[in-house]
């Protein structure tokens, strides 16, 4: 996959999320990457600093949590259940839906924010527009 363009998109989304808080420093970005998303975590880790250079995300650590594949089978009804491919591990049917394992998602960001900004902003309640 094209991990550099994924990394660039992550940096853009995070930058937009903290645009209202210029005093905030992004310390870490946490991603959920499904094992069947097509994204290679090592390649993403390599590209992330390149994409973040010169942006408010520069210097932030990248944390990747891999999400395993779970399917629900519409043939035998089993699931959600762990699977190694898009096929029911019980009955072998391909008539399944993917519950988890395809995510390319930003879950959280860690920010250093001056105390007065936290008190006044939405950040304190754990939300940010993105």
């Amino acid at each position: 996959m094209h991990e550099l363009s994924i990394a660039t998109e992550v940096v853009e989304i995070v930058t937009a999320s903290v645009a209202d808080y210029p005093a905030a420093k992004v310390r870490a970005v946490s991603l959920l990457i499904g094992t069947h998303s097509g994204v290679v975590p090592e390649a993403l880790e390599f590209c992330f600093p390149l994409a973040a250079e010169g942006t408010p995300v520069e210097g932030a650590a990248l944390q990747i949590e891999q999400v395993p594949l779970k399917i629900k089978c519409h043939n035998c009804g089993v699931g959600p259940v762990a699977a190694s491919s898009i096929q029911c591990p019980e009955c072998g049917s391909i008539n399944v839906s993917v519950e988890t394992g395809r995510e390319i998602e930003i879950s959280t960001i860690d920010l250093d924010v001056p105390d007065e900004v936290v008190a006044e902003s939405k950040l304190a309640s754990g939300g940010a527009n993105g």
Binding site: M1, H2, S5, I6, E9, V10, I13, V14, S17, R27, L31, G38, S85, I86, I94, E103, I104, E105, I106, S107, T108, I109, D110, L111, D112, V113, V118, L123, A124, G126, G127, A128, G130
Partner: protein, 222 residues
């Protein structure tokens, strides 16, 4: 330190733009097909052969996606069909934002069918919704019968498969039926087309399919 929850899908921007494209095309009664296939699978040749065979006065245009050159746009224009070229300059897939730029150059109000020929690649284009009604994977017999099994995401995400270059079957020892069988084992709902631009096999059927997509869209025009 403050931990802020974003819970944001990275590709949500593309999906939003793709949905806008989809709504716009449906309102104007334009059907849309996204053609995905490896470099050299025969996507452009398939269009060169089938577009002139479209009947019933269907008006069609093509958005061509390539890393470099407008050679494919020239080939489509040479058979009398409007085409615009998007050069990604290095990007390995078209995305909805690029397609929006291509759409701006086309007279959508005067079209029944839009075909998007994606950048040659069986991996990256799969993740990017372009607002299409149909996604077709183009794969030639020369690529081997196992390609659906080796690139399952492409075939699972598609509505149809076009197996091309059947005239080469005896030289590469691969039958179109083998390619199709492997694709259907992953996605039994795939529409299957088998073609050769050399012998003409399947071109009429494919052209008829293009006409049906255009007619169906036209009938839904608001």
């Amino acid at each position: 330190m403050v931990k802020v929850s974003l819970e944001k899908r990275v590709l949500s921007k593309n999906d939003r733009i793709a949905q806008k494209i989809r709504s716009q095309l449906h309102m104007k009664g334009v059907g849309c097909i996204n053609l995905i296939g490896s470099p050299g699978s025969g996507k452009t040749a398939l269009l060169e052969a089938s577009l002139p065979r479209m009947s019933d006065g269907l008006r069609c245009a093509v958005i061509e996606g390539d890393v470099k050159t407008d050679r494919d746009m020239q080939r489509i224009a040479a058979v009398g069909v409007d085409a615009v070229q998007i050069e990604t300059g290095g990007g390995c897939h078209l995305d909805a934002e690029l397609v929006t730029k291509g759409l701006a150059k086309l007279p959508l109000g005067k079209l029944d069918l839009l075909i998007i020929e994606n950048v040659g690649n069986l991996i990256c284009p799969v993740a990017y919704d372009l607002g299409e009604d149909y996604r077709l994977i183009v794969v030639s017999v020369a690529e081997g019968e196992d390609k659906p099994l080796k690139y399952p995401s492409a075939f699972v995400s598609a509505s149809g498969i076009v197996v091309t270059k059947t005239d080469l079957s005896s030289y590469v020892d691969v039958e179109a039926s083998q390619v199709a069988a492997n694709a259907l084992s992953l996605n039994p709902k795939l529409k299957v087309f088998t073609t050769s631009t050399k012998t003409g096999e399947g071109i009429e059927e494919f052209a008829d399919f293009l006409v049906s997509v255009g007619k169906s869209a036209r009938s839904m025009r608001k």
